[in-house]
Symmetry: C2
Subunit: 269 residues, 2 copies
């Protein structure tokens, strides 16, 4: 795929992680991405550890400090070899705390950590809530923001990232409900941003219960357009050229700017 | 239709106003609602004057002060006779200012005025932007909020009304784009509220241009469910019993409260 100067080759890798098999999942991702040409690939939430932790101690045991992590080092080598960036979910250990995080990794290594602000259901028993600001990073001179899974339900997340300049929302997810895909169309529409939601497939079958994930990874565009949606149950990698200038233009009509038309003095925070 | 104590009979009246024919449009609405049994009916935006004003002076000439308006008086008589409430769009004159407003009218007369905060396209040449707070009113002990048409594009509007306690968003509209219906599903989902969007049909054919409106009035429910959608081009009245207790429950899951899980310290206002 050829890229123009205003384009970013972005996509996702949807697959089925095996719970607890960090090295096997990592090797699967590296193998899957070997033939892919992209500037930026988004992986699902918690794609190496799996999702359905029994409790906090199990999450802590599988989590890693991304600044001292074999997993991150291997992903950084992949990024360097392929001259690409990755946004990936990550079980992040930080001393005695553990976060459901997303990492931005590039050819030079770890670039940014985002810690999920809105924990879903039993994640509240396993993870600490995110404690650092939503922020925007540059990839190939384009501005990307990171959010994780259930953050989709809070319009303030995508809005905050857009107000900070994000053109593309990178959204690792482990979806069990059917609502997110629809809502992300609205997030793309109301903020005039692209969004790549990378979901996983399969189930985490644990002694304390089974959780099934719903696939349907997708790429949405300004105007609320669905560019692509993955099947529900199959592994899938999809990369597409995004015209990032479209996400710089916040004029929904010649007289309506989606951000500047806001009336924050009338909004409750 | 029988009503239980937790139910509100709510709906909309979708029709084709004729530009500038205030009395004719009013009589059409009164005639259309004669046989309807409802607690609350939502009418479109600017349903009596029509929408496509040439300029501000034309809007001013057709607008009325709702506190001294034959139109409002006739609607109040209708509400009294039928023991119902109306939310209707209204070209509101206030001394030398003119607003694209929504009115709540009940058996006792005018109860509340909301002035559209987010003006669409050439409305900016015809109307003053809204200048009073979003607020919540009670109808049959249930809490309703009002928003007008393009307010849909700003998630902060529905969010603010939900944070102030609204269970039902009453949403007069004159839609020309195709985005709103989808976005209102998301508004209902992310806030666990009902929403009644009342759109108009037909076109305003004026010397300065033609504007076509897209019908498709709809009623959405907590969970992002579409309860009903009207056809694009035909007049339609639809009333349904809304279980308002569903809009009091903000628990999307047993551990996720859509409003209390917010992390406003991380949001840009």
């Amino acid at each position: 795929m050829q890229r123009k100067s205003n384009e970013l080759l972005a996509g996702y890798c949807q697959f089925r992680p095996r719970f607890g098999r960090v090295r096997e999942n990592l090797e699967g991702v590296i193998r899957a991405l070997r033939q892919v040409r992209a500037d930026l690939i988004v992986l699902p939430e918690l794609p190496f550890t799996g999702y359905h932790f029994r409790d906090r101690s199990e999450a802590l045991a599988l989590a890693e400090d991304p600044r001292d992590s074999d997993t991150v080092a291997a992903l950084a080598r992949l990024c360097k070899r392929k001259r690409m960036h990755l946004v990936t979910g990550f079980a992040e250990r930080r001393r005695d705390r553990v976060f459901n995080s997303a990492l931005l990794i590039g050819p030079q290594g770890l670039r940014h950590v985002y810690r999920k602000l809105h924990l879903f259901k039993d994640e509240k028993s396993c993870f600490d809530p995110g404690d650092i600001d939503l922020s925007v990073q540059t990839v190939n001179d384009f501005r990307i923001g990171m959010m994780v899974c259930f953050d989709w339900a809070f319009p303030e997340v995508a809005r905050t990232l857009a107000l900070k300049g994000a053109q593309l929302l990178c959204h690792p997810a482990n979806l069990v409900l059917a609502h997110c895909q629809q809502a992300m169309l609205t997030r793309s529409l109301e903020n005039a941003v692209y969004a790549v939601t990378a979901n996983r497939t399969g189930a985490d079958r644990r002694p304390h219960g089974v959780l099934r994930f719903t696939g349907g990874s997708q790429i949405t565009a300004p105007g609320g357009r669905l560019l692509h949606r993955a099947p529900a149950a199959r592994a899938k990698i999809h990369v597409t050229a995004l015209d990032m200038s479209a996400a710089g233009n916040k004029w929904l009509t010649p007289r309506n700017h989606l951000l500047r038309d806001r009336r924050p003095e009338f909004y409750l925070a």
